[in-house]
């Protein structure tokens, strides 16, 4: 099976600090890959490099066999990379539905001035239907007309996720989706991600500190520490690894 995303020997240096050092992994079709590690391990840096927000010092990222080197964020997004953010990135003055319509409009290339001048710059019924379907998927069906700035953090995270899902991405980079959520909200977020993966055949890179969520969702897990990959395998395998236990519990290093 051709991997959907291949990260090969990815490195990132900030002056003398090594944030990622020769990181390699593959993401298969409809697979959820957990990317875990202690704070400062380099998980978010790897995520940002894959998304194009930071340039790698070395290494390659290939999506569906195409090298993404040199492509800016927006071009990677158009090729099917979608992400949610550890630090919430929403449009607080827009409604929930508008978040999804913006995403669809940009993805479908409805940014032409001519279209607006001809009065066809609005969203099509097909786009609205797809948006409503996605809102139902994440459980926000009743919130379509609510302005997002008035919602609680948990709902905002769901809006962010729905905005990523509505364009049917090839790969979803979910960067700490449970950040700031309580345990019940985390479980609900995990349910939504699982449902999205199951129903849409989504490939997910899940960067997460909530190990219960990682255990429940991930087919395989990559563990990072100090910029290096220290273990790869199923959740149970990596948790049995002494290096991983040391990384999390700080024993012996």
């Amino acid at each position: 099976m051709t991997p959907r995303l291949v990260v090969h020997e990815l490195s990132k240096h900030f002056g003398g600090i090594v944030a990622a050092d020769g990181v390699s992994f593959e993401l298969l079709d409809a697979e959820c890959l957990g990317l875990i590690g202690p704070n400062g391990a380099g998980k978010t840096t790897v995520c940002s490099i894959i998304a194009g927000e930071q340039m790698a010092s070395a290494g390659t990222v290939r999506l569906d066999g195409h090298d993404l080197a040199g492509l800016p964020v927006y071009q990677r997004a158009r090729r099917g990379l979608s992400r949610t953010y550890q630090r919430l990135e929403i449009f607080p003055e827009m409604t929930v539905l508008d978040h999804l319509l913006v995403a669809q409009g940009v993805h479908d290339g409805a940014t032409g001035l001519l279209g607006d001048l001809m009065g066809s710059g609005g969203s099509s019924q097909q786009q609205k239907n797809a948006a409503e379907e996605t809102l139902e998927l994440v459980g926000l069906g009743d919130y379509a007309d609510v302005v997002v700035g008035t919602l609680s953090l948990g709902y905002c995270r769901l809006v962010e996720l729905a905005r990523s899902l509505v364009v049917n991405p090839r790969v979803l980079l979910a960067d700490e989706p449970s950040s700031g959520l309580d345990s019940l909200e985390s479980v609900a977020m995990g349910d939504v991600l699982q449902r999205a993966q199951r129903e849409r055949g989504l490939s997910i890179i899940l960067v997460e500190h909530d190990l219960e969520m990682v255990a429940r969702l991930s087919d395989r897990v990559v563990v990072m520490q100090s910029g290096l990959v220290v273990a790869t395998g199923s959740f149970d395998e990596v948790m049995a690894d002494q290096d991983v236990r040391d990384a999390y519990l700080g024993v012996g290093k």
Partner: protein
């Protein structure tokens, strides 16, 4: 060698004066997160008050203490308490607009309070400017120069020591990272912020008083140059080091002094080119210093803990109210047009025709600031490019309306040129970049005779369509023509803003990172926004010029750009009707104020009123027109007798718990 020294040495105290402002900029930015565009205006205010006090017999020392130690810090603390401390740390646009409002409003307030006449240069604070203290290689150094250098060095040493070694210094440095964390540690962040504002404003006052004796009169123009040069110095060190800012400012002062000294005395353009060195430095630094691209990125780990904007206070929209308001506005517009065509005195028709033309320039601000959230400070420059192009083409027989269209296209070129160095910039850095662009146009392009004609200005004739010559017709017919053009352009803008373009720009204003992550090219959008806004401003400038019939560089200076932004955000920068309302309000108020006593400085009073209006932006970014709509909505809800329709939005916040 002595010739070079004779040019270089005066540059050191000049650079030190710039350094005081630069240090103040760094200090305020590092301790409050605000980039205070109003420092030049604060320096001017202190210099003016110092000159006023000494002219009225107060001793130099007492006048200096009053201006520098009492009034300047109080002004800074007031600005912080009343305006800046109420703006959330991540709202860069609001901070920039507030600082611009102060930059416009403070000199205007001085003129309104003390009259429009410029004051003569005051005596120097410590030593007589004519007293030679020392000779260096034959070059005489006077008392003012020596005292300026010594005072600047003393200030630098004291401030650096305080910031590095004292508790309040550490608190000031921590305050910019996260005022919320500081408060959680039990520190009164309001006190810390006030100290920073007081000290930095005192520095601005000191620079103003030290700088004043160098010129014949106390003029705001000199302080604006001082400010931009100081900004360049502060930007070179990434707004991060007071010592670095001092060194760079001093080097800039020497470079300017040296190059202008060697410039041919018969070429004002060459002199202007060398005087523009700080502007070029600023442009280069903005383009190539990656640190400045992340100026707006807050390091506050609790940034998301900031309280959300007050959406819950918004009344839900009601179709019936919006339809009624639309009809009301249409009727008001119709009444204005009919009145203008019949009974309104011609002097008012003339003023409102100019205002209507300016509403095109204001529409350009609706796109840049209202939709895209970028505070561009060179929109008047684009208007000037359009006007001067139309005027020059008219001298070669090109009809003025054709010239206006070509002027718009040339302005679009200028807009794209202005956008190129700003492609990777946003927020504060983009505002600085556009300000520099405007200053370069003001200093090097607009004053030349091949652009703006001779000393009397450049003539732009009234249009002619077929056999209808608007030069021989009354101004009423010109008003109708300009209104028709504005209506057509407004309709295009309305389509753009309600379509995908407006929605995507709205999203990029609220979260550029997320919008790019959806596949939206921010760089292409920036070029598009600058191009469209410049073509609109250029067309508006040409029509405005055709209304005035003679234009000069002063009509399109960077000060006008600042004023225009202030006017539009006061009335409403997010809607097409806001731009048209701003044009008419600006013209009507200007005309009305001509009936006020000259002692009140009507032009300054106008600026002051709009600056006060713009200070509302942080809490009311929607402007007065939208405020009016919301007031009507609240009233409608209070007396509502009709049931809510399903299409009405869910009451905001009702489901947020």
């Amino acid at each position: 060698m002595s010739e070079a020294l004779s040019y270089m040495i005066p540059g050191v105290p000049f650079g030190c004066t710039m350094a005081l402002i630069a240090i103040g900029l760094v200090l305020t930015y590092r301790s409050t997160g605000v980039f205070n565009f109003a420092f030049g205006a604060q320096a001017y205010a202190a210099a003016y008050l110092y000159a006023f006090f000494t002219a009225h017999g107060l001793a130099r020392g007492v006048a200096g203490v009053l201006a520098i130690v009492v009034i300047s810090p109080c002004l800074g603390i007031l600005a912080d308490r009343l305006v800046f401390s109420r703006i959330t740390s991540g709202n860069v646009t609001a901070k920039t607009v507030a600082a611009l409002a102060l930059m416009v409003g403070l000199p205007a307030a001085i003129s309104v309070a003390f009259g429009p006449t410029s004051l003569a240069s005051p005596p120097s604070l410590l030593f007589n400017v004519n007293n030679v203290v020392v000779h260096i290689d034959g070059v005489a150094i006077d008392g003012v120069q020596v005292s300026t250098v010594l005072i600047t060095l003393a200030v630098l040493v004291i401030l650096t020591t305080v910031l590095r070694s004292t508790a309040v210094g550490i608190e000031m440095r921590a305050a910019v990272e996260s005022p919320r964390l500081l408060r959680l540690q039990g520190v009164n962040s309001i006190r810390v912020s006030s100290i920073a504002w007081g000290v930095s404003s005192g520095l601005a006052g000191l620079a103003g008083v030290l700088f004043a004796p160098r010129y014949a009169v106390v003029s705001i123009d000199n302080y604006t140059f001082l400010l931009v040069a100081a900004i360049a110095a502060a930007a070179v060190v990434g707004l991060n080091s007071m010592v670095g800012a001092f060194l760079v400012a001093t080097a800039l002062g020497v470079a300017i002094s040296l190059t202008t000294g060697y410039a041919p005395s018969n070429s004002s353009w060459t002199t202007g080119l060398f005087a523009a060195i700080p502007f070029f430095v600023l442009l280069l630094v903005l383009a190539f210093n990656p640190k400045l691209r992340t100026l707006d990125v807050s390091a506050d780990p609790l940034i998301n803990a900031e309280p959300p904007p007050t959406f819950a206070a918004l009344p839900p929209p009601l179709r019936v109210v919006d339809r009624s308001l639309f009809i009301t506005r249409a009727v008001v517009m119709l009444v204005i047009i009919v009145s203008m065509m019949t009974w309104v005195p011609s002097v008012w028709v003339y003023a409102l025709t100019g205002g209507m033309a300016l509403s095109l320039v204001f529409l350009s601000i609706t796109l840049t600031t209202g939709a895209a959230g970028q505070v561009s400070l060179c929109q008047a420059t684009f208007a000037g490019v359009g006007a001067f192009t139309a005027g020059q083409l008219a001298t070669h027989g090109v009809p003025v309306l054709t010239g206006a269209l070509i002027g718009g296209l040339v302005a679009a070129g200028a807009g794209i040129l202005a956008a190129l160095p700003a492609l990777r910039l946003r927020g504060l850095a983009l505002s600085l970049s556009t300000l520099t662009f405007a200053l370069l146009a003001d200093g090097l392009v607009f004053p030349t005779s091949w652009v703006s004609g001779d000393q009397t200005g450049l003539s732009i004739p009234r249009p002619q369509i077929g056999s209808v010559n608007f030069a021989t017709q009354s101004t009423r017919s010109l008003f109708l023509l300009v209104t028709a053009i504005v209506a057509a352009v407004s309709f295009i803008f309305w389509l753009l803003l309600k379509g995908a373009t407006g929605r995507n720009l709205d999203a990029s204003r609220q979260s550029p990172l997320a919008t790019a992550g959806l596949g939206f090219s921010l760089s292409k959008a920036k070029i598009m926004v600058f191009g469209i806004s410049a073509v609109t401003a250029g067309l508006g400038g040409a029509l405005y010029g055709s209304t005035l019939q003679v234009v000069s560089p002063a009509d399109f200076s960077f000060q006008m750009s600042l004023l225009f932004v202030v006017v539009v955000v006061t009335i409403g920068c997010r809607t097409v009707s806001g731009a048209i309302g701003a044009g008419l309000a600006y013209a009507a108020l200007s005309q009305a104020l001509t009936y006020s006593p000259n002692r009140l400085a009507p032009a300054s009073l106008l600026s002051l009123l709009f600056a006060l209006g713009a200070l509302r932006y942080a809490r009311h970014p929607q402007g007065l027109l939208e405020d009016g709509r919301r007031a009507v909505l609240r009233l409608a809800h209070r007396f509502r007798k009709f049931p809510a329709k399903n299409s009405d939005a869910v009451f905001l916040g009702a489901r947020s718990s």
